[in-house]
Amino acid sequence: MAAALLEVDGVVKRFGGFTALNNVTIHVKQGERFGLIGPNGSGKTTLINCVSGSLRVDQGRIRFAGTDVTTLPPHRRTQLGIARSFQIPKPFRSMTVLENLGIPLEYAGHARGHDGAAEAADILREIGLEAKAHLRPAGLTQIEMRKLELARAMAARPKLLISDEAMAGLSSAEVDDILTILFRLNAQGITIIMIEHIMRAVMRFSERIVVLDAGERIAEGTPEEIVRNPAVEKAYLGE
C-alpha cells in the first residue's frame, strides 16, 4: 500500500452562512488515479480551490508529501508539486502557447536561468499541441484550449495534477484524446485527481472515487462499488 501523497483532513469551508464543505476528508495515494464526482454545487471545485490554495479552509488540515500546506499561498503549493487545470480555461492571453508554458517552467518547474523553451516544446509534443506553439490562445479551439490548460499544469512539473473538468463540452473522440494524455501522465508517475461530470470517463479512468454531495462526502470506493451505491444514486437522481 503506497503512502498518501495528499491528505485532506476534516476540511470545513463556509461562504457566509453557507457551508460549502463540511468536514471533508480524502486521502490520495502516491501514483493513484483518483476520481472526484458529485452533482453540481456539491463542492468539488471548492475542495480543489482549497487544495490548490486559491481558498483558505476554515477548519481542518491539508498535508502534501508530508508538508502541512494548509496556510501556504497557491504559488508555494505549486512549487511543492500541486498543479491544476481550470474548469474554464484561464490562459495568459498576451502570450503564445509556448510562452504560456514558460511561466510555470520558470516559476515552479525550476527552469529559471536556463532555457526552458526546449522543455516547453517537449511538453507540447507530448500533449499534441506542437503545431500551435506560436499561436496566441485566442486562436485555439476548445479542445486545444483544454490541452493548453493541461500542458501548462504539466510545465509546473507536478507530483499531483488536478484536472478540473478538462473534458466538459468535448466530443466523444476528444474525451478519449484527453483520457489518453492523462493515462500517459499517470504512467510517468504523476498522481492525478480527476473531477468530471462525464461518467464514462471518470469510471474508466479512476482506481478510486469519492462522491461529494452538498459539501459532504457520501461515498468512496472503486468505480464498480460507486455505481452500485444507493446513496450515490439518490444524490444524482433524487428519491
Binding site: 490548490s52 490554495g53 486559491s54 499561498p73 497557491p74 504559488h75 505549486t78 512549487q79 498543479a83 491544476r84 481550470f86 484561464k90 490562459p91 495568459f92 492571453r93 498576451s94 502570450m95 510562452e99 514558460g102 511561466i103 510555470p104 520558470e106 516559476y107 515552479a108 518547474g109 529559471r112 501548462r152 510545465a155 509546473a156
Partner: protein
C-alpha cells in the same frame, strides 16, 4: 560579443552625453525649459507603465507620488538645504514607501476599485499638504535655487539631470520587462489566479512593481521645486500628471518599454507647442482627444499599429 543589455547601456550613455552636449550649446533657454517637461514625462510615463502596463494595475494616483517627491525635496531644502542628488534619492524613497503601501491594497482591490483607491490617495495626501505649514501649506512656498550651477543656468542644468533620470527610468523598465519579473508580471496581468497557481508569487511581484513605479515617480518630482521655484499643492498634485501618465503609455503602447517613451515624447511635445502657440489650457484637451482616438482606432497604441502594419 556585445550583448543587448550592453547596447542599451551604451545607448543610454549616448543619450546622456547628447543631453550634456545640448546643454553646452546654450540655445534659447525656453528649449531647455520645455525639454525638461518632456523628459520629466518620459520618466513619469515609464514609471507608470511598470505598474499599469506590465502588471495591469491602473494607477490614477500619479500626482500623489510625484508630489511626494516634490514635497520631500521642499522639506529637505527647508530643513538642511540638502543637495540635489540627496533630494532625488530621498524623494524617490518616500514615494517608493508610498508605492509599497498601495501594493498591499492590491491584496483586496483589483481593477477599477484599485484605481479609485489610488485616486483617493492623491486627494488625501493633497489635503495633508494643504494643512502642513512647514512646507508652505495652501499658500505655497518659494524655493531659492543654489547659486553657480553648471552651464551657468539652473534650468539648463536640471535639463541634463532629467535626461539622466529619463535614461535611468527607461533602463530600469527595460530590464524589468526582459527579466523573469517582467514575465511574471505579464502572467498576473493576463490572469492573476492562473499565475498564482502556476507558481508566480503574485503579491511579491506586485509589491515590487508598485515600489519601483513609486520610486521613479518620486524621482521625477524631486527636482520640481528647483525647476518652478514655487511649490504649492495645486501645481504639485495637478490632475495633468494623472491623465498624462495614463495617456502617454496608452498612446505609445503599454507592453514594451519604448511605448511610454514614444507616447511621452509625442504628447508632451504637442502640449508644449500648443502652450506656446495657442493656449496653456489646450493641453488637456489635446490629451483627451488623442486618447479617445487611440482607444477607438488603435487600442494597443502606436506599437500595436506598427505590429499590425508589419503583419504581426
Amino acid at each position: 560579443m556585445i550583448t543587448r543589455t550592453e547596447w542599451a547601456l551604451a545607448a543610454g550613455l549616448a543619450v546622456i552625453a547628447a543631453g550634456i552636449g545640448l546643454a553646452a550649446l546654450r540655445l534659447n533657454p525656453y528649449l531647455y525649459f520645455a525639454g525638461y517637461v518632456i523628459l520629466q514625462y518620459v520618466v513619469i510615463a515609464t514609471a507608470w507603465n511598470i505598474l499599469g502596463g506590465y502588471a495591469g494595475y491602473v494607477n490614477f494616483g500619479t500626482p500623489a507620488f510625484f508630489a511626494m517627491g516634490a514635497y520631500t525635496a521642499v522639506f529637505l531644502i527647508r530643513w538642511v538645504k540638502a543637495p540635489l542628488p540627496v533630494l532625488i534619492l530621498a524623494g524617490g524613497l518616500v514615494a517608493a514607501l508610498l508605492g509599497l503601501g498601495i501594493g498591499y491594497l492590491t491584496l483586496r482591490l483589483r481593477g477599477t476599485f484599485f484605481s479609485i483607491a489610488t485616486l483617493a490617495l492623491a486627494v488625501v495626501l493633497q489635503t495633508v499638504m494643504i494643512n502642513w505649514e512647514y512646507v508652505g501649506g495652501s499658500r505655497g512656498i518659494s524655493v531659492i535655487r543654489p547659486s553657480g550651477p553648471p552651464f551657468g543656468n539652473y534650468v539648463v542644468f536640471l535639463f541634463t539631470v532629467m535626461t539622466a533620470l529619463a535614461v535611468l527610468a527607461v533602463l530600469v523598465a527595460r530590464f524589468i520587462e526582459r527579466s523573469w519579473i517582467g514575465r511574471g508580471l505579464a502572467a498576473l496581468r493576463d490572469n492573476e489566479e492562473a499565475a498564482e497557481c502556476m507558481g508566480v508569487p503574485t503579491l511579491k511581484l506586485k509589491l515590487f512593481a508598485t515600489t519601483v513605479s513609486g520610486f521613479l515617480l518620486g524621482v521625477a518630482g524631486a527636482p520640481f521645486p528647483y525647476y518652478v521655484t514655487f511649490v504649492e499643492p495645486n501645481s504639485a498634485f495637478a490632475l495633468d500628471y494623472a491623465v498624462n501618465a495614463l495617456a502617454m503609455p496608452m498612446i505609445g503602447g503599454t507592453t514594451s518599454w519604448i511605448g511610454p517613451v514614444i507616447g511621452a515624447v509625442l504628447l508632451a511635445t504637442a502640449q508644449q507647442l500648443a502652450t506656446v502657440t495657442i493656449s496653456s489650457e489646450l493641453n488637456l484637451l489635446i490629451v483627451g482627444v488623442v486618447l479617445v482616438l487611440f482607444v477607438v482606432v488603435a487600442p494597443e497604441g502606436i506599437l500595436g499599429l506598427v505590429r499590425r502594419v508589419r503583419g504581426r
